[in-house]
Symmetry: C2
Subunit: 375 residues, 2 copies
């Protein structure tokens, strides 16, 4: 296959199950994409990331353009070879990170001028340069350059920000050019304002993209307001293209968003939490640093098949976390990514069987039940 | 097999090739034992440690008695289950670490009273308690409690220190008791003084041990003086028992010591160096932090089969090291442990073939050749 395609094979309410096919391989949807910021999903080898069930990983344009540099990665054969990941890669546009991480940023119609948070060097990032960098990286799925509207924003401010993103989306499309097998996704903005989300969706569809992202959420609005937006936002986008909710989220965010018609997710939460001793399980979040685990011979989750749960007691995970050992990050990250992929597989199975409502009820009951009682 | 045994199958000069058999599995000798200080070979999963070719790992009594505690590990099923390592484990006696790491230590005929470097709690470690702790951990090979004589030491001081260790060795033997399948090793001391090493060896053999270690080296005396001691020290010990040179060393230390009749080694060097960007190769040490690697598409060692060399460029290893990514420690530690195990396998093959002198010459030529020329 040399082209990018998306097929839906089952539906359950608004939820969809299907697959994205790229020349690098297929992505079962709904999909969770682990974040490999600087060319590594932190504390994981790529083979282990694949073993958790991930079909695709995300790379960060902002981080990679600054270190080691997009041109260098291109000279080394592209991001796939650089980071030893054969499957599809999605890169963000850099728009979000440049506004949240860079120093002395100045936004204009052209794009964003900023200084690197690493060495203070000056850079410019706009639709054209973002497309160029993502092409140098060799991303299979490229994101249009946008501004993630801060929250909260007055409607007028949100409208201006969204319209700037739409002009940038058009320039992104033009700069992307004709690249068979590669996809460009547009990003819907509009904060929490339905009419702005509508306007943004129309603008994007006039331009035309291989997929559509829902941006500007998970920025402090809270789950209730996010779900309110998601009650209508996915339906504004074409039914036959993948829908990607950026930067989301907690397990119950994913379950709620899938039920509302979202197909793709990315979030640093499972990997970052793994490094701070937070484990996601079917019975909610477990803080392995808690003293009640220190003599507990039971695994984190007796029903989990990941290496951390098959090979180690809570007492061990507690010990290595407290001792600051690297293996603590390795095992808990693996567990969390495994849990996220298992959750997505469960959602896909439920959509296929038409039992998503029952799956969701059981998921919530498990989360509410809470962790195993102390011994 | 329920007993501990050692067999030599080939000799080349003073060097010996053989195997130690324990109920947990066999150890091909000469053997290098990776150090798993606090219940983990840092930055490695146990399956990966085994994949490098390691038959046995070392655990540190001092660290484990303080955190999480030997009794807790015993309650959790012993150190093997705790750290998920099925093969043999050797534990040190704690004598070395208590003198180098603990606070407010006071040595007496009984043992050493000290405060934990972690929480300041007061502890006592002597021959009897060291044997008890190592039994609680479930170590397959237990080390007698000793004092590692500091270097340099006047002959009188070294003699007193060695004789204290010999009295402790006898108490260790008595406290160890009768434990079929488990081995107790005595430790030769005597600093750089041949007559003291002789006296120590005789004392140990009067007591009788399943194996014998050479202690008090690699403490600042330098390779030349260490080899001078090793020209005679191994020969003072029984031919039919394994000889273990503690805390050694660099690759050329191992090659020189094997030629002098040593069978076992342990050292933090390959794992610690991996975390600081130093890689051991057939062409000497490579510092991956050096800027000359930043655009180099070649692997660390084109002839190495480890995951770091098979999957990644020097440019990538340089990048993740500079970016402080955990994968840098994971990959370089794996490479270094793989290199050490390959070196030991090469030494074993050479002894078997009677070509150790040729192997040593080729090894030294490779080390002297230096790293690949910059591109």
């Amino acid at each position: 296959m040399s082209h990018f395609s998306f097929e839906i094979d089952s539906r359950d309410g608004l939820a969809r199950r299907g697959r994205i096919v790229t020349p690098r391989g297929a992505i079962a949807t709904p999909a969770f994409m682990p974040v490999g910021t600087a060319g590594t999903v932190k504390a994981m080898l790529p083979g282990s990331v694949a073993a958790t069930g991930a079909d695709i990983v995300l790379g960060n344009t902002y981080h990679l353009m600054l270190r080691p540099g997009a041109r260098r990665i291109a000279d080394l054969g592209g991001l796939h070879r650089f980071m030893n990941w054969d499957g599809p890669i999605l890169t963000d546009s850099g728009g979000y990170q440049v506004m949240s991480l860079a120093a002395l940023r100045r936004i204009s119609e052209d794009g964003v001028r900023f200084r690197s948070h690493i060495d203070g060097s000056e850079h410019m990032l706009g639709p054209e340069s973002s497309m160029e960098i993502q092409a140098l990286l060799g991303a299979d799925i490229v994101m249009a350059f946008d501004e993630c509207t801060p929250f909260p924003a007055e409607e007028g401010v949100a409208a201006e920000s969204m319209r700037l993103s739409m002009r940038w989306a058009r320039r992104s499309r033009e700069a992307f050019g004709d690249r068979p097998g590669y996809a460009l996704f547009g990003i819907q903005q509009g904060s929490i304002f339905t009419d702005l989300r509508e306007e943004s969706s129309k603008s994007l569809q006039e331009i035309g993209f291989e997929g559509y992202a829902i941006g500007g959420l998970a920025v402090g609005e809270g789950q209730a307001r996010m779900f309110e937006v998601l009650d209508t936002a996915p339906g504004m986008l074409p039914d036959d293209r993948p829908r990607y909710l950026m930067g989301v989220g907690k397990p119950d965010d994913l379950v709620g968003a899938v039920a509302r018609g979202v197909d793709m997710f990315d979030c640093v939460l499972p990997s970052r939490s793994g490094r701070t001793g937070q484990a996601f399980t079917r019975r909610g979040v477990v803080n392995i640093r808690n003293a009640r685990h220190r003599a507990d011979p039971r695994p984190l989750d007796p029903d989990c098949a990941c290496p951390a749960c098959r090979g180690y007691s809570r007492a061990y995970l507690h010990h290595v976390n407290k001792a600051g050992e690297i293996i603590a990050s390795m095992l808990l990250t693996w567990h969390n990514l495994h849990y996220y992929q298992q959750l997505m597989a469960g959602l896909r199975d439920a959509i296929g069987a038409g039992t998503l409502a029952r799956f969701t009820t059981a998921f919530r009951a498990g989360q509410a039940e809470g962790d195993l009682a102390p011994l």
